[in-house]
């Protein structure tokens, strides 16, 4: 039911574009082509698998497409952040100086739009360095030893724990984060995560449409590959997807992550229809292209490859081949 509605919405939004450019004959031809080539698709997928490998988030091509889709709305990027009140500074510039200032503002905006990384979840540390049974009754508290040598990267630092039972083990990721914050504090990061990141409080924030604030705080507080980070991001993206509030994150550095999350779970219909409604056709084309790159085994990717589709044809292909994504249990 939901798939049908989504499909209908998609085709409604896209029909305005298609009818303007293509006549019925062309459309019927594409339909015939689809029915002919549906069957042998499965047999050639084995060969295709060698050539088409699914792309990762960090690939240059993917980053390029995501940056283009994110857009550059200067008003939103340089939105006033809560800071101390300072009186405004006025400067007298010539035309060339004004152009230079605008150019600088553009590069500064690009820096602010640098996407935070999407990394696989970190595996728990379970390394035991030494087991000394003879130290069993030594103390009731653990001893945590941190190496505060200045020149080592934090990931390679030695943080070990001596338990009351005598085992000397490496500290877990949560202990590491806490102790690194004790000895090498980062701005605005707290030792215990603030109550904002609990489920109920997150819902309040989503109700007030403050998704970007949640995600920015999450970036400051947690490491990019920690479970908490992924959980908060997943909840935020689910809420945005459910209510169609894609425009909240547009032209911020968090948009790329949202797009990648939707593509990985194969639910780009809402975003596509939103983009087409706002007349961002080129962005929609790039989105479909990225989807085909990320899922080279999907129907739309295979057919696009066979037809050498580009531009608006990509949109047609994906509308016609869109399926309900497999239920993730």
């Amino acid at each position: 039911m939901a798939a049908r509605c989504a499909g209908r919405a998609l085709s409604r939004a896209a029909r305005s574009v298609i009818n303007a450019e293509y006549n019925r004959a062309a459309r019927s031809q594409t339909v015939q082509r689809l029915t002919c080539t549906a069957a042998p698709g499965s047999s050639s997928s084995g060969q295709d698998a060698d050539r088409l490998k699914a792309v990762q988030f960090a690939d240059a091509e993917v980053q390029d497409i995501l940056n283009r889709i994110t857009g550059l709305d200067l008003n939103k990027v340089f939105q006033p952040v809560k800071q101390e009140l300072k009186p405004p500074k006025y400067r007298l510039l010539t035309d060339t100086q004004l152009e230079e200032a605008a150019h600088k503002a553009g590069t500064q905006a690009k820096k602010l739009l640098k996407m935070p990384p999407v990394l696989p979840e970190r595996k728990p540390i379970e390394e035991v360095l030494c087991e000394d049974k003879m130290l069993e009754g030594m103390d009731k508290a653990k001893y945590v030893f941190t190496d505060i040598t200045y020149n080592i990267p934090h990931r390679e630092r030695f943080i070990v724990v001596r338990e009351p039972s005598g085992t000397l083990r490496k500290a877990s990721w949560e202990e590491r984060d806490r102790l690194l914050q004790v000895y090498f504090p980062k701005n605005e990061r707290k030792l215990t995560p603030p109550p904002m990141f609990k489920e109920e409080n997150l819902k309040v924030m989503f109700g007030q449409n403050r998704h970007h604030a949640v995600l920015n705080y999450c970036l400051v507080q947690f490491e990019p590959d920690s479970a908490e980070f992924k959980r908060v991001h997943a909840l935020t993206y689910e809420d945005i997807e459910k209510n169609g509030k894609y425009n909240l994150l547009w032209s911020t550095r968090l948009f790329g992550g949202l797009v990648w999350h939707l593509i990985s779970s194969q639910r780009i219909d809402g975003l596509l229809s939103d983009m087409l409604q706002r007349d961002r056709v080129h962005d929609a084309e790039s989105l479909v292209h990225l989807f085909n790159l990320a899922h080279p085994q999907s129907d739309s990717a295979l057919q696009a490859q066979q037809q050498q589709a580009s531009g608006l044809e990509l949109l047609k292909v994906i509308i016609l081949t869109y399926q309900q994504p497999p239920l993730v249990l």
Partner: protein, 169 residues
């Protein structure tokens, strides 16, 4: 051996000693003492501080009923909390809300000072042993055993007291 005492001045005696020490170093330890960077050969060349050495020890700080130690490289004869050469870490003896006692070591600088001939004190040696940097200090093991024995003893006494009470009743 040249004749000492009345013949040579103190400076000449010292220069002589330094020359011999350098020769010994170069022969035994195979260090080129000229091209090496300035190393505090503390036990050998301290003219005003003869017989002293650098110690790595705990300097007490904090407040009433709330101790906090800094692990510090300081001259032996200096006061416990006085002027030190370098701070090498910290030790908080009271456990926090996660039942952890936080200890930090700057292992790079500790290695440097140990190489210059600094002596760690007993508590510092114990902590380094627990950390795995040194071998385990024998007193740590002895204290663990003593604690186990005393706990077993108190448990036995409690059990005997209970039996007596029950017997009375």
């Amino acid at each position: 051996m040249s004749v000492h005492g009345n013949c040579g001045s103190q400076d000449e005696i010292w220069a002589d000693k330094v020359k011999k020490i350098k020769v010994v170093c170069e022969m035994k330890l195979k260090i080129d003492t000229k091209t090496r960077a300035m190393v505090h050969l503390s036990s050998l060349l301290l003219r005003k501080y003869h017989g002293g050495h650098v110690a790595i020890r705990l300097a007490l700080g904090g407040a009433t009923n709330r101790p906090f130690y800094r692990i510090v490289a300081a001259y032996n004869k200096r006061s416990r909390d006085g002027k030190y050469i370098e701070q090498l870490g910290s030790y908080d003896p009271l456990p926090n809300i996660y039942n952890e006692k936080l200890v930090s070591f700057n292992f790079d600088r500790i290695k440097y000072w140990m190489g210059c001939g600094a002596h760690p004190t007993k508590p510092v040696a114990k902590l380094l042993g627990l950390a795995g940097f040194f071998p385990l200090h024998p007193m740590t093991i002895t204290e663990a055993e003593r604690r186990i024995k005393s706990e077993a003893k108190t448990q036995k006494e409690e059990e005997e007291d209970e039996e007596e009470k029950q017997a009375e009743q």
